[in-house]
């Protein structure tokens, strides 16, 4: 076990996989000589050299497509988007070239690529730099979408993503990079597509992912003081979604709250609501409650930004509401 930051866990994951497989390389803006815009790739250039750690020009559409071509030819690129907001420039290559080609080619071509970068809101960086793309990418058959919250999961899932032969979108969060947690040393792999039950409980299930897990944990602690037993599920992977773990939990607690940072319309919480309807309707004592970011472009002013994002109170209020409803 090592006590390291999440950015170090990500760096270790990439370094270990680059040692293990010569075909793995990293490309993105400032990943090499600058040591990474958020210092995630720190030290990789020195260790592996410029053939395998490549600074790109600011041309996301072009370098995402170039990386797809390299992957179709059998290399294993890790493409860093400085933030996932900039991935929108590359959307056609991610979706039409990376995600769909295995199917369109009848299985002939594969695209073992990882697109990774910070997703969602940071701090005061305003509307164009703060969007959550979990829902956009999770919509696409052919992509895998991962969004870890713990340090151990960042490492284990990034290693798994790099070894996966499918295109994977790996969603991080800038505000988590500095978190220090216990991360297993060496060959720590986490299975893609398996959620984690962080805390067992009986009264209500809360399902969430990425940075909102922190808020969920605190809200649950609050609720526990008031005698409510909360079960917390960290999705870890958005697509493929671990439906079994979610349904098993709802069968036990009969109540579910879904929490995400992104917007409510057609978000991940909406998908969970549909899945509950299809698989666990008869087990519900109350309708699912969604706690999401507000349906607004993210404002800059500190007070407005706070209001626009899910707060701990939003979650505790949901817990009390859903439990009160059934008593």
């Amino acid at each position: 076990m090592a006590l390291i930051t999440i950015r170090e866990a990500l760096r270790d994951a990439m370094a270990e996989e680059m040692i293990r497989d010569e075909k793995v390389f990293v490309m993105g803006e400032e990943v090499a000589e600058y040591q990474g815009a958020y210092k995630v790739t720190q030290g990789l250039l020195e260790r592996f050299g410029s053939r395998r750690v490549i600074d790109t020009p600011i041309t996301e559409h072009g370098f995402a497509g170039l990386a797809v071509g390299a992957a179709l030819a059998g290399l294993r690129p890790i493409v860093e988007f400085m933030t996932m907001n900039f991935a929108m420039q590359a959307m056609d290559q991610i979706i039409n070239s990376a995600a769909k080609t295995h199917y369109m080619s009848g299985g002939l071509l594969t695209c073992p690529i990882v697109f990774r970068g910070p997703n969602g809101a940071a701090s005061r960086v305003a509307a164009q730099h703060s969007q959550c793309y979990a829902s956009w990418f999770a919509h696409i058959p052919g992509l895998k979408v991962i969004a870890p919250s713990s340090g151990a999961d960042h490492k284990g899932l990034l290693k798994a993503a790099i070894r996966d032969n499918n295109p994977v979108v790996f969603l991080e969060n800038e505000m988590l990079y500095g978190n220090t947690t216990e991360v297993p040393d060496g060959e720590h792999l986490v299975e893609i597509g398996k959620a984690a039950v962080l805390k067992e409980g009986n009264d209500v299930t809360i399902v969430s992912f990425s940075i909102q897990i922190k808020n969920v944990l605190i809200a649950a602690q609050e609720a526990e003081k008031n005698g409510i037993s909360v079960e917390i599920i960290d999705l870890r992977t958005i697509r493929p979604l671990d439906v079994t773990t979610i349904i098993n939990s709802v069968k036990k607690t009969n109540k579910i709250i879904a929490v995400e940072e992104g917007w409510p319309f057609a978000g991940i919480c909406s998908e969970i609501a549909a899945i509950i309807m299809e698989n666990a309707f008869d087990y519900l004592d109350a309708p699912l409650i969604r706690v999401t970011g507000k349906d607004v472009p993210l404002p800059y002013a500190a007070n407005l930004e706070k209001l626009a994002l899910p707060q701990i109170d939003d979650i505790t209020n949901a817990i009390y509401h859903i439990c009160k409803k059934t008593s």
Binding site: L66, A70, L75, M104, S105
Partner: protein, 326 residues
């Protein structure tokens, strides 16, 4: 070593003639089958452009890769793919090269170095640049020929690709297939600068303009480019001026150009007729052999059509396969 026309002996001239004729007859048949409702969706025919595909391929070696747009049937067959699997794909059959799941625009043959087959205009350009990146990363002397049209040439991602290719010295030959029209828009209506061979200048990429209606012109330009790229690991650009006799796709009546213009190309500059005239003039072939070639090609196409029509549609279970790989 750059070879000249006179170095192409009788056997090779016949071979290239036959290959161009195969492409021509294949595409004519595809057009026919489309009109009969056996091929659906989009179908972009390569008729008139045969010298480009065959001329490019003649200069390549095993290990090189080729990538293009949705006007891909001719290029794919030129790399050596069997016509019957291309035809079966067009008819949406299980025996198609993409198991019927891709269609006209999404065909691939990686074993032959053919990486598609791409439906989004210009998307193949960064991808092709990436294929070249991989060739260099793997320390090979392989290169990638990345083909795109006079419509795609204005895409931003093309210039992003040029920039990276030159910055990183990637072994890629960019071929602009200028057939004069991007769907219904002529080059003069779409491009402020129509000297497409100069489009790489801002990125230090040398370009050359080539008569794409003449096999030898394409072949010679390609040989020259290939030699330079293999030696120097640098990107190069060829603007190949060609012409498509049919519309942009089977849905296009091509009202934006005159019948006279089409006739001019067909009667005076046809690539297959040019090769035939060359061979006859230089006594590399006789009429009887020409008839034999026509018969041989006809049989190949007939067999491809029969094979396709006798093949079943994909099994319904294939709806849910190949979304992810292991």
């Amino acid at each position: 070593m750059v070879r000249r026309n006179k170095d192409i002996d009788s056997a090779n001239a016949c071979r290239y003639y036959e290959e161009m004729l195969l492409l021509r007859r294949f595409e004519e048949k595809a057009g026919q089958l489309y009109s009969m409702g056996l091929i659906g969706g989009f179908c972009h025919l390569y008729i008139g452009q045969e010298a480009v595909a065959i001329g490019i391929q003649a200069a390549l070696k095993s290990g090189d890769s080729v990538i293009t747009s949705y006007r891909d049937h001719g290029i794919m067959i030129a790399t050596g793919s069997e016509p019957k699997y291309v035809m079966a794909e067009l008819l949406g059959r299980a025996t198609g090269c993409s198991k019927g799941k891709g269609g006209s625009m999404h065909m691939f043959d990686p074993a032959k170095g053919f990486f598609g087959g791409h439906g989004i205009v210009g998307a193949q350009v960064p991808i092709g640049t990436g294929l070249a990146f991989a060739a260099k990363y793997n320390n090979t002397d392989n290169l990638c020929v990345t083909i795109f049209g006079d419509g795609a040439v204005n895409q931003g991602q093309v210039y992003e690709s040029f920039n990276m290719a030159k910055l990183w010295n990637l072994p890629v030959i960019y071929v602009v297939e200028n057939n004069g029209y991007a769907m219904g828009t002529s080059t003069s209506r779409a491009s402020s600068v129509t000297d497409f061979f100069r489009r790489g200048e801002s990125f230090g990429i040398q370009g050359r303009q080539v008569d794409g209606m003449n096999f030898f012109a394409v072949y010679e330009a390609m040989q020259d480019a290939v030699a330079k790229v293999r030696k120097n690991n640098e990107p190069l650009l060829l603007e190949v001026q060609t012409y498509r006799y049919r519309g942009h796709s089977m849905s296009d009546p091509a009202k934006y150009r005159s019948k006279d213009e089409v006739a001019e190309y067909r009667e005076k500059r046809d690539p297959i007729e040019q090769m035939k005239d060359y061979m006859l003039k230089n006594k590399l072939i006789n009429d009887s052999a020409l008839i034999d070639i026509e018969k041989k090609i006809k049989k190949i196409i007939e067999d491809a059509v029969n094979f396709s029509q006798e093949s079943p549609e994909p099994n319904v279970s294939e709806l849910y396969t190949d979304i992810y790989t292991k």
